[in-house]
């Protein structure tokens, strides 16, 4: 009887193995990429950690001068790191006037304690921006759908650190995870235009970004209008670099519809039209 039971159990195990094995094989294949290891281990909590790591990069950007969860922060204010990586120098001017989140010392313990942590608002510069990169990379590994991580890392890689190759590689990684992102395409276009000095490819990438933006708008996703202006701006820059007057005129006319400062664009359009008129027999 015992022998029969043992044989029966053995047969059961064998049958079960044939049923379960294909599922395990599928799971192993899925887990072979690092992103999927994080998914398996951390589930949805990884986006929370990704946000923390992005904040850590921001803290590094300020050399440790960074508010904790107990410190008061302005509601709705974006992280400095995101703000700085948008090719908008106006942000840095406002920092000079920005008051410290610390405020006045509340008591002698607070006053004395300030000797032991950074209390001056500074930003990394002179190539030291590289110190933020590990946290941005880790943040992207944990949440590959957070587009701001790719844009921020790429901005510093292609500007201060002069590493356009790495920036492009990282952006392409981001594009694989977010194929519909017009923002990543715009940043990639900038790499080609500003770093590789290849306006032809840059223009094509930005046109693709424009298409994605329009498609999202048509679908009612409300894409960022400022990004659209930036995309058209990059296309115009590429046209200028290519010396394509006809393309430039049509792209400028498109840009002027959404641009905030229309006057210089109008002057350029008028100038181009005049030149084209003169060129015709």
């Amino acid at each position: 009887m015992i022998r029969l039971t043992m044989v029966f159990l053995f047969v059961c195990c064998l049958t079960l193995a044939t049923v379960i094995d294909p599922s395990f094989q599928r799971m192993h294949r899925m887990e072979s990429s690092p992103g999927n290891v994080f998914v398996a281990l951390m589930g949805d909590s990884r986006s929370l950690f990704a946000h923390e790591f992005f904040a850590k990069a921001d803290a590094y950007f300020h050399s440790g001068f960074y508010p904790t969860i107990f410190d008061t922060q302005q509601a709705g204010k974006e992280l400095d790191l995101k703000e700085e990586s948008r090719d908008k120098p106006a942000g840095s001017e406002s920092h000079e006037e920005e008051t410290s989140f610390l405020g006045a010392p509340k008591d002698w313990i607070d006053r004395f304690g300030r000797h032991f942590y950074p209390t001056v608002h500074t930003h990394l510069s002179g190539g030291n921006e590289r110190e933020m990169l590990p946290w941005l990379k880790l943040s992207a590994e944990l949440d590959p759908h957070e587009i701001a991580t790719y844009l921020t890392a790429s901005y510093w890689l292609r500007t201060s650190l002069n590493k356009p190759k790495e920036a492009e590689q990282f952006l392409r990684e981001g594009l694989r995870s977010n194929p519909d992102s017009y923002a990543i395409l715009l940043e990639l276009g900038r790499v080609y235009l500003d770093n590789w000095k290849n306006p032809w490819v840059a223009r094509n990438i930005c046109i693709l970004a424009r298409e994605k933006w329009r498609r999202q708008e048509a679908a009612g996703d409300k894409p960022d209008p400022h990004s659209y202006e930036e995309i058209l701006g990059e296309i115009v820059q590429a046209d200028r670099a290519l010396g394509d007057a006809k393309g430039l005129l049509s792209d400028l006319e498109e840009l002027i519809k959404v641009a905030h400062s229309k006057e210089p664009l109008q002057i350029e359009i008028d100038d181009l039209k005049r030149k084209q008129g003169e060129a015709k027999p």
Binding site: Y60, G64, F112, H115, F116, L133
Partner: protein, 273 residues
């Protein structure tokens, strides 16, 4: 040589007893495997992190310093707490405390000797940890800020002094070393992360609750002062020397207070298990 030693012993037998007990504690530390395992872990984890490649840039170093210092802090706290928590209970369980106290060793000397031994043991382990940290920084950054590391290590050691005294006090209050270690670990981590912000929290609380939180804020030892990792990681340079001295005095006062409390409880404690 031996006559001069016996003379000094005769002149100050209390100090001799204290150093003898402290010596035993230090010997115990280097006979046990705890420190070696934790030190090897610090080296292993740091080297593993150092081998990671981020965007083909081998000059990235701050994340590595940050991780290494965090490990050093965590592991030094573990060494300090586990070493201290077992001292008095182990002596009582093995009944070695009776011949010790039967000799002319006072209970106060016993407490101070145990404290000194644990604190010096922590200091020796910190020396090893910070030496590794210094070598790591020198190899990656090609700089060695000796004074900065000295300030940081000293403050770290002072902080461990408070922790050791606190755990020693816990070992005469709580029944088992495990409960003492757990409670002290929670208290120390709580002070480390939130101690400096309790007043901010208290200001947002109404009435008596706010007053209680404010009282706790002023009463607790502010261990967060001694964590100057941000200074080292982000190369902020030296801490103000007067502040450094002030923090050292503050630590000595709290250590003395905890040791005094330990002695007050321990001197009337029945030693039978």
């Amino acid at each position: 040589m031996s006559s001069s030693k016996s003379l000094s012993t005769n002149r100050n037998p209390g100090a001799h007893n204290i150093f003898a007990i402290a010596g035993v504690v230090i010997k115990e530390m280097y006979r046990r495997k705890d420190f070696y395992v934790l030190f090897a872990l610090v080296i292993l984890i740091t080297l593993l992190l150092g081998s990671l490649n981020f965007f083909d840039d081998d000059r990235i170093v701050r994340y590595l310093k940050d991780a290494c210092l965090l490990l050093i802090w965590l592991f030094s706290l573990i060494i300090a707490m586990t070493t201290t928590a077992r001292q008095i209970p182990a002596e009582r369980e093995s009944r070695t405390i009776f011949p010790l106290l039967a000799k002319p060793v006072g209970r106060g000397e016993f407490v101070v000797g145990k404290f000194l031994g644990c604190w010096l043991a922590c200091g020796i382990s910190l020396l090893a940890f910070y030496f590794f940290f210094g070598v790591l920084c020198a190899s990656r950054e090609h700089t060695f800020s000796l004074l900065v590391y000295f300030q940081a290590m000293w403050l770290h050691w002072m902080c461990l002094g408070i922790v050791v005294a606190l755990v020693l006090f816990g070992s005469v209050v709580f029944a088992a070393p495990s409960s003492n270690t757990t409670i002290c670990f929670i208290v120390v981590l709580g002070i480390w992360f939130a101690g400096g912000h309790l007043h901010t929290v208290a200001l947002q609380m109404p009435g008596l609750r706010g007053a209680i939180v404010s009282f706790i804020y002023y009463a607790i030892p502010h261990l967060e002062w001694y964590d100057v990792r941000e200074f080292i990681v982000h190369d902020w340079g030296l801490i103000d020397w007067p502040a450094w001295v002030g923090a050292s005095i503050y630590a000595i006062l709290y250590t003395g207070a905890f040791l005094g409390c330990t002695w007050l409880v321990f001197r009337r404690r029945t030693l039978t298990v």
